[in-house]
């Protein structure tokens, strides 16, 4: 179809500059009708910039966007939407204070005699949801639903309009397996209808399952456009990172932890109402314990219970042999247990503070207001962490909000490591960051463990849990069903344990 069919959308020679930095430099990109196209690249490769240029959220400094061969100029997302280009952004951009149906039709509500026809609004909402196999009350408020449902509603909104190009930016990051399957079914249907779909995801499995063609970007330039079938995974990763395969390969696990080593943290019968029930956890010195489970299985609740973000309703926590019952994260940190929350944007990084200030936050808080850490020492400390963790750009005075996701995650880690904790609890530290940064974080966790730090590691990607964890605790419905050494597990066997419904278990 390459030469015969005209591309539906084309971006030619796209260049975007932010002050001195060039985010995108002379990139060509095209999409054909009825294909699923993936845009791959590390953080900072220019994917988001290209998407924004395509959807009218950003203007090109050079180059042009062509729609059906004709040059177009989008001044706002509204213009692009009129032209049939619809986007579902990574961070859910809906309105929690309105109903589900309204979120779907907002801006093009059906009207009768000039007034909004509410009955029809609900009908259209229901129909759009049904197309995604979602059975929820269209008249309910969006905020009463889970993130996954909200994500699906965002997709329903995009689907329910005149559609020629659909841009999905990390659409699956909060969906479970069934929901992903449902989404893929819809994508295939749209493909039949001749819609061009841009599917951006960090999950390589999903990219290989659904995409026909892959465009790879690296540091703002085009690496190439490939047929998915003809591109081996390892080649793809290599093209994205620009490194040789040996460098990409994750480090081998340190030998299984010697079980005679000192136990650092013990949780007995940990219970949090509507979260986890009677969880027993044991963490040795220098051990990485992976937590595997579906969304809502209690994996985050367990992490929050250990670190006193949520109050325990029962059970005891022992750190270093002394029984403690920390009631606030501050007390937990005092007993040297630190938590990195799952939502980096809202609960972690403070956008407007600089990298240095972000790193120093927890340490200064621990010192107390009156014992200010000397600026010179703070700077030295921050610089050493930036160096040690490879935070890029290595600019201490840059607002942390301007860093890519992977680097923000490293800043968060630096903040906690500056406290020199005994136990580090990481809740999905690799979510929404790129393969390269992911490998960096995984390796980092391994190195930290080798140096004696105990880590609790949560991830939605089972492969990662297995790779990073010495042992894996499997959670289902708020209960730890088993804790196994990761040596004896494969991704498939772990998947079976995580997903096994209760009826079969009994």
């Amino acid at each position: 179809m390459d030469s015969a069919v005209q591309p539906l959308v084309e971006v030619v020679g796209a260049t975007v500059r932010f002050q001195a930095e060039t985010a995108l430099s002379g990139v060509d990109f095209r999409m054909f009708p009825g294909e699923v196209h993936s845009l791959m690249g590390e953080n900072g490769a220019g994917k988001s910039t290209l998407i924004k240029a395509l959807t009218g959220a950003l203007r090109l400094d050079e180059g042009e966007v062509r729609l059906g061969g004709q040059p177009v100029s989008f001044r706002s997302p509204r213009d692009a939407q009129r032209a049939g280009i619809r986007t579902v952004y990574q961070e859910i951009d809906l309105l929690p204070n309105l109903t589900v149906a309204e979120n779907i039709v907002l801006g093009r509500e059906p009207r009768r005699f000039g007034a909004i026809h509410w009955k029809k609004v609900r009908e259209q909402g229901r129909a759009a949801l049904a197309e995604l196999g979602l059975d929820i009350d269209p008249a309910s408020l969006l905020s009463s639903h889970s993130l996954a449902v909200q994500q699906l509603v965002a997709i329903a909104r995009a689907l329910s309009s005149e559609l020629t190009v659909l841009v999905l930016d990390e659409p699956t990051s909060s969906l479970d397996l069934d929901e992903v399957a449902e989404l893929f079914r819809v994508i295939r249907e749209l493909k039949q209808r001749g819609v061009a779909i841009l599917f951006v995801s960090h999950f390589l499995d999903q990219v290989y399952e659904i995409c026909d063609r892959i465009t790879v970007l690296r540091s703002g330039t085009l690496v190439g456009e490939y047929q998915t079938q003809e591109l081996l995974r390892i080649d793809l990763v290599q093209k994205m990172l620009g490194r040789s395969p040996e460098e990409i390969a994750p480090r081998a696990l340190a030998a299984v932890v010697d079980r005679t080593r000192k136990i650092v943290l013990t949780g007995a019968d940990l219970t949090v109402k509507n979260g986890i029930a009677n969880a027993n956890v044991e963490l040795g010195e220098g051990e990485v314990l992976g937590l595997a489970g579906l969304l809502g299985s209690g994996r985050t609740e367990l992490a929050r219970a250990i670190t006193a973000v949520d109050t325990l309703d029962g059970g005891t926590l022992t750190v270093d042999g002394t029984t403690r019952s920390p009631r606030t994260p501050r007390e937990a940190i005092a007993s040297r247990v630190a938590y990195s929350p799952e939502n980096r944007r809202t609960d972690g990084i403070i956008d407007r503070l600089t990298v240095e200030q972000n790193i120093g936050l927890a340490l200064q808080a621990q010192h107390g207001v009156l014992r200010r850490i000397p600026p010179a020492r703070m700077r030295e400390l921050a610089a050493s962490w930036v160096e040690a963790l490879g935070i890029r750009p290595a600019d201490l005075d840059r607002p942390a909000g301007q860093l890519s996701g992977g680097n923000q995650q490293k800043v968060m880690l630096a903040r906690l490591l500056a406290l020199s904790p005994r136990v580090l609890v990481l809740d999905e530290p690799t979510r929404g960051i790129d393969v390269g940064a992911k490998v960096d974080v995984q390796n980092l966790v391994g190195e930290l463990a080798d140096s004696g730090l105990s880590v609790v590691f949560i991830s939605a990607e089972l492969e990662e849990v297995l790779r990073v964890g010495h042992r894996v605790a499997i959670l289902r419905d708020g209960v730890i069903v088993d804790t196994l050494a990761s040596d004896g597990l494969t991704v498939d066997s772990l998947l079976a344990l995580v997903a096994k419904p209760d009826e079969i278990a009994e």
Binding site: A57, S76, P77, R78, Q81, T87, Y89, D93, L94, L95, P96, N97, L98, T99, E102, L106, G107, E109, R111, G114, A115, I116, D137, A139, S140, L141, S143, S144, H145, S146, L147, R157
Partner: protein, 340 residues
Amino acid sequence: MTDTKLAAQKPLDGVFSALNSFRSRHASWIPVFAALLILVVMFGFAQWWFGNFLSPRLISALLLDNAFLLILAVGMTFVILTGGIDLSVGSVMAFTGILCASLVSQGVPATVAVPVMVLAGAAIGLLIGVLVLYFDVQPFIASLVGMFLARGLAFLVSLRSIKVEDESILMLQSTRFKFGEWYITPTGIIALVVVIVGVLVLQYTRFGRTIYAIGGNEQSARLMGLPVARTKILAYVISGVCGGLAGLVLTAYQGSGYPLNGTGAELDTIAAVVIGGTLLTGGSGYVLGSMIGVFVYGTIATFINFQGAEQSWKRIIVGGLLLVFVVIQRLIVTRSSRRS
């Protein structure tokens, strides 16, 4: 689980699911019901206290005495729903009021004077909207500018009270349509029409829904392709127009214009809107709630007058109620954010 257990649970489940579905659909109405409950309790208490509080005459007077506040509250609801605030409304009311009195005393017919005052209000609203949108000024500061400007203009028109002799304006107050013991004046009708228009616009137009969308998340509303700029400016213009109409109603009510009218009225208005269940952070609230808020406010004032107590008590009680409502709202917001 046995069958009998299941059967026993069924009707209860029905009730629970109905409750749940109500909560997931209409959570934002709860503060309005709370305000209504408080109003009813206050009526009940006053009736028990005085024995003759609840009469058609008194309720009719409640609308009459608070017509200007009701109009201001409708405009303020639009602005607060977008997540903004308008401190200028009291001054705009004073300015347009004295402008009207001055114009008609110079022989300008009311048919000219009234559109002029409404336009004057709209212009100040437009100024605030432009400041907020294009110069990125905090709504608090931008409307403070509007407040000082309007008050200054009021003094510019006249330093002293101007009596209104024009019949076509005075009749707005003096005409009484009676239904037995009940009555309503044209000023009351204007206020009710403003309420009805406000309800319809917010509920049944795309503009109205965009107001809610902006209050929910301005950035999202923009990415969804909604006309954010136009809508935000229009919200302030509507508040300005309401200020102009309130100026007319107040002038008719007092039979004169006075440049010091409505000092602090903006705060009374905000209090009434918040008591009526509108979230100050925007995105949640109703014009009908604001109307109930105004009546709660008015009932407190009437109660104090009946009692012959110090006027300062009015402020204290309103302050206390405000505190209660802000706390209730806070609880609702934290609860719903925890659930999601």
